[in-house]
């Protein structure tokens, strides 16, 4: 049964151990999680773009996107910014502590469908982690895709997540990677400006490119505006939408936009689908 978490219950999570905690920024950490139950772990699979409902017992539950490659089967990553009750409680956890996980939930990014296309990623701040769960498997199957262009923007150099991974991306010569910050600092010698300013520095053929974007709503709006101006078709712009979520399984009502539920119809939407939504996102 879908969403039964291996225990037959829609709302009762599986236990997972925090096997590793990595500091990303002053307010963001990556948690590597491993299911306690051997059978459940062996059978667990997910797809890029899906998410989990993560429980810190006593604090509550909140949704987070998978941040690691689905090809990694033993454990997975979520990268989480501390903003409130659940996220702060999670940040107070130590390696070895147990949390609850329900998932995988939601739809996913297209993968096979975009093979052969050039791929453009536009990530903002904490929007990079869900894209990483797609970038990594694409790099693992590099020859199946055309150009891979990754644009990443953050508020300041210190706000960038995965700093060592970014250095690796910079070194690769089979991808085009650029990053920018809204406000630089003394040591920053890279681009300064919002992420859309990087569009001027690349040339893409919109007819053979699929763009993936993830970030704060305001960034997504500007990115889509520019992509449309560049000549992208609505079907070739893929974004994730964020809505306040509770159940993650289409029952509590919180995440509805019009008659669509971000938790089950999304979180991945093409711009064509977003345009058809009967409510502001």
């Amino acid at each position: 049964m879908s969403g039964s978490n291996g225990n037959g219950h829609l709302y009762v999570p599986q236990l997972a151990a925090i096997v590793k905690i990595t500091d990303e920024t002053y307010d963001t950490k990556t948690f590597t999680l491993r299911f306690v139950d051997d059978d459940y772990r062996k059978n667990f699979t997910f797809k890029s773009g899906q998410f989990v409902e993560l429980s810190v017992f006593g604090a509550g539950e909140a949704p987070f996107g998978f941040a690691s490659s689905p090809n990694r089967r033993e454990d997975f990553d979520v990268t989480i910014r501390a903003v409130g009750r659940v996220t702060n409680a999670l940040h107070a956890k130590r390696e070895g502590d147990l949390v609850g996980v329900r998932g995988p939930l939601g739809n996913h990014f297209p993968f096979e469908e975009v093979m052969g296309y050039d791929i453009l990623f536009v990530g903002g701040g904490i929007g990079l982690p869900p894209l990483r769960s797609l970038i990594e498997p694409m790099l693992e199957a590099r020859e199946k895709f055309g150009r891979i262009i990754i644009l990443y923007g953050a508020r300041t150099p210190a706000d960038r997540v995965y700093k060592s991974w970014l250095v690796e991306l910079e070194k690769r010569d089979d991808i085009e990677f650029m990053q920018t910050v809204d406000v630089g600092d003394d040591s920053w010698t890279g681009n300064v400006g919002v992420v859309t300013t990087l569009f001027k520095k690349i040339s893409v053929d919109p007819s053979k490119t699929v763009a993936f974007t993830c970030g704060p709503p305001i960034m997504i709006k500007f990115v889509i505006q520019d992509l449309l101006q560049m000549g992208f078709d609505g079907d070739h712009i893929i974004s994730t939408l964020e809505r306040y979520m509770k159940c993650g399984v289409g029952k509590c009502g919180h995440c509805a936009i019009g008659h669509k539920y971000v938790c089950t119809d999304g979180p991945v939407f093409s711009f064509t689908q977003m345009r058809a939504l009967r409510e502001q996102w």
């Binding site: 049964m1 879908s2 969403g3 039964s4 037959g8 219950h9 829609l10 709302y11 009762v12 999570p13 236990l15 429980s55 017992f57 006593g58 604090a59 509550g60 539950e61 909140a62 903003v83 409130g84 996220t87 147990l98 609850g100 704060p216 709503p217 709006k221 500007f222 889509i224 505006q225 964020e242 809505r243 306040y244 509770k246 159940c247 399984v249 289409g250 029952k251 509590c252 009502g253 919180h254 509805a256 936009i257 019009g258 008659h259 089950t264 977003m274 345009r275 009967r278 409510e279 502001q280 996102w281």
Partner: protein, 361 residues
């Protein structure tokens, strides 16, 4: 006895059957409250039942989805341990009205599908619905406009439907579950006579003529589907609304809930869900502080989009109102924002308005 049978029995036979079932079932029935109002509650004996009622203000859904419901308990000392709540008791909801049965039928559909809400069905699968058709509507009732009463027909979701024929009940067996419970009670009755069946239809026709409230459902559906309502009307309604959530809490069709953890000691607690309302400002507030429905009017628009748009009708198989009239009684903005009142206001809205498309900011 068979499913589909229409039987006739003296009223006290039904009540005696109920008393016999009390041993193995929790019986919930209509009783008289301190101010003469009707309250559905667990009864010890059928003597407590009143038949002097049309409907209770509190929605019957509370017996299937309590306002606060434990999902599981957790212990966090050393190892984390999760425990499920006790299985809910077998229960009979006796004397509930047609509109509430239709509401429950909606919940059954909504809570199944790809993700089955096992917490809901733990109660639901242990519940028998014995409904009582309405010979008299309240002045606030309008199930005649929503096609959810005053009498139910086969397939409408009742296990047993009773009709008050005066001295006797007409007993219609609607499901296997209904049949089983009557058999378990040792209930015996003869087939209803042709006159009794004719009387049922006559009572139904008479009731149809007694409705005082109208809801312009058809026009409302058109308006909410085409988005022909000017934004300023929603804004006006926003100024009138107290965002109290009474309309949604009492609505038999509204299903929304919130989830929270409650600690009972340092190392144990429970996760529970509780009724929530799309009329509350915090309902859609995201962790970033961004709130797509910050304006009160946009939340009222949401309520009616969900209840009436064709997109939802297609998804759910029906619109989101059973005509019980509870929101008319409960709404603090008296007479302005209940469903029939809003439909009255939408009816006069005319011009097509272009649906705003993003990104425009």
């Amino acid at each position: 006895m068979n499913v589909g049978d229409k039987l006739s029995a003296p009223k006290d036979q039904i009540l005696k059957a109920l008393d016999r079932l009390r041993k193995n079932w929790k019986i919930v029935g209509p009783t008289e409250g301190p101010d003469g109002e009707v309250i559905f509650r667990e009864i010890e004996s059928s003597d407590e039942i009143t038949f002097n009622y049309v409907n209770e203000l509190d929605p019957i859904k509370r017996f299937l989805a309590p306002p606060t419901e434990e999902l599981f308990r957790f212990r966090t000392n050393g190892e984390v341990k999760l425990e499920l709540p006790e299985p809910p008791p077998r229960q009979i909801l006796f004397g509930i009205r047609s509109c509430d049965v239709k509401g429950i039928q909606h919940w059954d559909k909504f809570y199944s599908g790809k993700f089955v809400d096992d917490a809901y069905f733990a109660r639901r699968n242990n519940t028998v619905l014995i409904s009582l058709a309405c010979n008299e509507p309240l002045e606030t009732c309008f199930c005649i406009c929503t096609d959810t009463g005053p009498f139910l027909e086969e397939g409408d979701g009742y296990d047993v439907q009773l009709t008050d024929l005066g001295e006797r009940f007409l007993v219609e067996i609607g499901s296997e579950r209904g049949l089983q419970v009557l058999e378990e009670a040792g209930f015996k009755a003869e087939a209803a006579s042709a006159e009794e069946l004719a009387k049922r239809d006559e009572l139904m026709r008479q009731c149809d003529t007694k409705f005082e409230t109208t809801a312009f459902m058809a026009k409302g559906i058109v308006q909410m589907t085409n988005g022909r309502v000017r934004d300023s009307l929603w804004e006006e309604m926003g100024h009138e609304c107290f965002s109290c959530g009474a309309c949604t809490h009492l609505c038999p069709m509204c299903t929304c809930f919130d989830v929270q953890d409650v600690m009972e000691a340092e190392d144990c607690g429970r996760r529970e869900r509780c009724w929530d309302s799309c009329q509350y400002a915090g309902y859609t507030r995201e962790a970033s502080g961004h709130n797509p429905r910050a304006a009160t009017g946009s939340r009222i628009q949401r309520r009616f989009y969900h209840k009436l748009s064709f997109a939802y009708i297609k998804q759910d198989g029906h619109h989101g109102c059973v005509g019980c009239g509870r929101c008319i009684i409960a709404c603090e903005a008296i007479g302005l924002l209940d469903l029939p009142a809003v439909l009255k206001r939408l009816r006069r809205e005319g011009q097509p308005v272009e649906v705003t498309q993003v990104p425009t900011e």
